[in-house]
Symmetry: C2
Amino acid sequence: MKDIQAFVFDAYGTLFDVHSVMAACNKAFPGRGEALSQLWRAKQLEYTWLKTLMGRYEDFWQITEAGLIFACKALGLDTPPGVRTQLMSEYLRLAPYLEVHEALTSLAPLPLSILSNGSPWMLAAVVERAGLKERFVQILSADEVKVYKPSPLVYELAPRRLGIPKESICFVSSNSFDVIGAKAFGLQVCRVNRANVPLDELGFVPDAEVRRLTELQQLLKT
Amino acid sequence: MKDIQAFVFDAYGTLFDVHSVMAACNKAFPGRGEALSQLWRAKQLEYTWLKTLMGRYEDFWQITEAGLIFACKALGLDTPPGVRTQLMSEYLRLAPYLEVHEALTSLAPLPLSILSNGSPWMLAAVVERAGLKERFVQILSADEVKVYKPSPLVYELAPRRLGIPKESICFVSSNSFDVIGAKAFGLQVCRVNRANVPLDELGFVPDAEVRRLTELQQLLKT
């Protein structure tokens, strides 16, 4: 990768571990936590795509709650409103991956930002709680354009709001569709592939791939 | 439901059983047929959504093949091109559900059509093979508008090409996102819920729900 002037990170699944909600799910429904958190996450993503295609944008909090409601129904889990509120609140205190602080420090000479589907207030809460607020020059949300990734309108926020050409931005994501969407738009893209799984077959591949965020600094040397 | 002047059917999963490919998958990969056919179908749908969002339409045959390639990789199944071709060809001879002939006969006084993501030639092949060609006045494909369901541009094909107001068309689908997309556009919608599973939480519900297509004729009496 060359001429990188800024790093832009996806949030959920890239900086913050969405499956850290699994513990809370397992506490509410012993033995069903993994199934619930996986179906919840799958439906959360699916609903962002379907709502965008239908031209019926709703903010990420509503989408996330709808995904939870469906996942509980589909798994036959009776969920009182109190339990639902408790599980939803986990999204405001997701744990960052262990290497996040070290990785961001190593990249700090360059401006670092977030570009996420999350609502601005959700992102603010999770970044604040993780002690990462001072790390980022911009926290950009799909909510500004009222469509979700992988629409090019979302990725276009990065060069426009940063004032840096898209070819000089390195976008970093763990989500296969997000990697591909950003590449299709024209950003430089590094995939974080922690689980060593194949990339989706959607016609685009990232410029680089790492297993951990701490490997990103090596991209600056090449 | 009232003032129904025409029925329009989804194809895959509604008239034709997409999991009839499971047998072929199981023959190619003994014991892995169910996992492969389910992941293949899930990726096929996901890729229609993602390609549409990226503004990178590809026809349903290409999407279906990409889904198969990914599913095989993700499951660690080594797939020679010959096996892939064989599995793909199953999509041209999907079995209709057992009650399809009887159900269509009972509705025949009204014009019957198909509105599907499938490419025109894929739909023609599967309809011809099932002996259903004479049943339909129109076979409409998302390929005409180069986006996939649940984009309203797809559903808009039905009233436009049939010359019937959208409020007087009954759209029939087994796919939750398709039921909801059609309803959001403004068609009357009947869901076919063979497996008795919950509807996705996307803000719209169908006008009616049946377990089998043979129950559709009862909608004309209410």
